[in-house]
């Protein structure tokens, strides 16, 4: 099967969103009980668009990404409810064989720690070249040429000479570039980047984000950026989903969410970004810790840490997603009030 044919198969004439996730629920069976890692998360992504999924550790953002990739171990994981559609094609319940043909070719994923995500005993060139051999059926030498080509595209210096080097011989930023080269080698329509810059130095972070943005411009690829770092999001994403304890807390455009957040949790996240223009004794942090997913508090899951919490927040049901303005929703009983105050400081 030639490359051109496969890439467009089943997608001709599709005008809807590239990816639509609806009411996604993911749970894990553990020895201690059922962990509901993702509860009713929905979002859409168009071709060429970047969205960010934001949240602390344990918020369910990585599980959401892995559910889309179809790389959750099932069991113990399962998707009891919800739908993930890529160009209209339902991915939930897809056979492993069909999913494998999509992974790496139509949807691809970059992981947080490139060193541990690259096979330590195989050269980086081979790890990229195998994509061309297995997915495109290229010969060994053609695959090598193609791999060096894509290594140059992500700007790895002396790509041809470094083809045979191993992951541990590269710097952190270069390793992440190799990971990116590997994952964009098949020109996927959707790229998920799970904390792609968390393990990197600040200057290198900017370079990697720039590279991702550039690759996206060239290819009209949809990008889902998963991060806990609001600073990274502002420049690249168009829309944001804020997650907490496996639930959507707030969703909207980047501008809306930065200028007029409608959820106390989002405000807490925004306040904990250091700002160059301000001198503070101590960076404000959200007090407390994210809940144990085995024992999520009743009502709004954020209420034990929320400065605005009232009695209504402690009782079930949890607040529904309320629309505060066009395309901007927030799960908070006080969403409208918070939004109306128009800015930081609760």
């Amino acid at each position: 099967m030639s490359r051109a044919v496969r890439k467009t198969a089943g997608a001709e004439g599709w005008t809807g969103p590239l990816l639509s996730v609806e009411d996604l629920n993911v749970q894990f069976k553990t020895r201690d009980g059922l962990v509901r890692a993702v509860n009713g998360v929905s979002f859409e992504l168009n071709a060429g668009e970047t969205i960010a999924i934001l949240g602390e550790s344990g918020s369910g953002k990585s599980v959401t990404a892995q559910a889309v990739m179809g790389i959750l171990d099932m069991p113990p994981a399962s998707i009891p409810k919800g739908s993930i559609r890529l160009k209209g094609r339902e991915l939930v319940g897809l056979s492993e064989k069909d999913y494998r043909e999509i992974r790496g070719t139509q949807i691809a994923m970059i992981f947080q720690d490139a060193l541990s995500s690259l096979n330590p005993v195989i050269s980086v060139g081979e790890q990229i070249a195998e994509m061309y051999r297995l997915h495109d059926g290229l010969s060994r030498s053609d695959a090598k040429t193609a791999a060096i080509d894509v290594m140059q595209r992500v700007r790895i210096p002396a790509a041809a000479q470094r083809f045979g080097d191993y992951p541990h011989q590269f710097s952190g930023g270069m390793r992440q570039r190799i990971m990116i080269a590997m994952m964009i080698s098949q020109r996927p329509q959707l790229l998920i980047a799970d904390e792609p810059t968390t393990a990197l130095d600040v200057t290198v972070q900017a370079q990697v984000m720039e590279l991702l943005a550039e690759l996206q411009r060239d290819s009209d690829m949809g990008l889902i950026l998963i991060t806990h770092d609001l600073g990274v999001v502002a420049d690249v994403a168009q829309r944001i989903t804020v997650m907490y304890a496996g639930r959507t807390m707030e969703q909207g455009t980047v501008d809306e969410i930065y200028d007029q957040p409608a959820n106390p949790y989002t405000i807490g996240l925004l306040e904990s970004i250091p700002k160059l223009a301000e001198t503070v004794e101590r960076l404000p942090a959200i007090r407390g810790l994210p809940p144990n997913l085995l024992q999520v508090p009743p009502g709004c899951p954020f209420h034990p840490r929320c400065p605005l919490a009232q009695d209504v927040c402690r009782r079930d049901p949890r607040p529904p997603l309320e629309t505060v303005s066009e395309g901007h929703v927030s799960s908070c009983w006080f969403a409208k009030e918070v939004h109306a105050r128009g800015g930081l400081r609760v």
Partner: protein
């Protein structure tokens, strides 16, 4: 790499002298002496005994005996047994037998141990996994002489599938039963080791990333999981092969295999220092070479390991 290799080879020289000296000293320190053992308490022709004493320098002080022996080795004379058989001839006779037995056991450990280890890792928690846990525990816990006699009786005598003893039928027929018995404990260990290291690697980030790349399950298992879990297995197998080379006194005894193990046992009883020291030295050199090979193999298996 080349320098590392040469250095490792040079390190074998002191080890050679140390071990030969130690074994020689131990043989010398054994209670009793060759003359009494040979006479078995009966009166013997004094001329014959004097001949033996002269021939084997038995009246010299220990250190002189040792240096005469080492001197002999460097002129190609490994000495003779009391029956006037050259030690070299004994080596030539015994070592091939032990090699065949060791190779049989090794192949069983390697092939069955790794294959079943992979299978149980892939079917973790399944009925076969539980069964194999039980079976391997049983194999490790059963003394080798119990297993040896049971296997010999069942397959050799009762069912008659394979020769119960001796090596008349040659390789492989005669070596299958003793090979299995000799391999049993190590096979069980290799199985569990393979399963354990694979399960660890299955949870690693690079295996998850390999799935995200859309690679076929077989490719992931071979290139990602297995390649990364081989080091502990190779370490164990390397040491075990060297140990197998040392022969197996009990297994060779049960199945009447005329290998190094039986010879060593016999020679120790007869106080034949030259035979014991010679055989043990050959074994130690084999052990050192195996260790070196394993170390060199590490560098091939894991590019992060480099030799300076």
């Amino acid at each position: 790499m080349g320098r590392y290799f040469v250095r490792r080879l040079l390190q074998m020289i002191p080890v050679f002298f140390g071990t030969t000296f130690l074994i020689y000293a131990l043989m010398f320190a054994l209670p009793g002496n060759p003359i009494d053992t040979l006479s078995r308490g009966k009166p013997r022709n004094p001329a014959y005994l004097q001949y033996i004493i002269d021939q084997f320098n038995l009246n010299d002080p220990f250190i002189v005996q040792y240096f005469k022996y080492i001197g002999g080795i460097f002129t190609g004379n490994f000495g003779k047994t009391f029956n006037n058989v050259s030690v070299i001839d004994i080596f030539m006779q015994r070592i091939p037998v032990t090699l065949q037995l060791a190779a049989t056991a090794f192949v069983i450990e390697l092939v069955l141990g790794i294959a079943l280890g992979i299978w149980t890792a892939l079917r973790k928690g399944g009925p076969f996994d539980h069964l194999s846990l039980l079976a391997t525990l049983l194999l490790i816990a059963t003394p080798i002489f119990v297993l040896g006699y049971v296997v010999q009786w069942l397959f050799g005598v009762k069912l008659g599938w394979l020769p119960p003893a001796g090596i008349q039928a040659g390789w492989p027929t005669s070596y299958i039963l003793p090979g299995f018995v000799l391999a049993s404990a190590s096979f069980a260990f290799v199985l569990r080791l393979t399963r354990q290291s694979l399960l660890e690697v299955f949870g690693s980030d690079y295996v998850r990333a390999a799935r995200a790349k859309g690679l076929p399950a077989w490719t992931i298992l071979r290139k990602y999981s297995l390649r990364n879990s081989l080091i502990p297995i190779v370490t164990f197998l390397g040491a075990d092969f060297a140990a197998l080379m040392g022969g197996a006194v009990i297994t060779e005894g049960i199945f009447n295999i005329p290998g190094i193990g039986q010879q060593l046992y016999q020679s120790i009883r007869l106080h034949e220092s030259v035979v014991v020291v010679g055989l043990v030295t050959v074994l130690i050199v084999a052990y050192l070479i195996m260790n070196l090979l394993v170390d060199l193999l590490y560098g091939v298996l894991d590019p992060r390991i480099r030799y300076e």
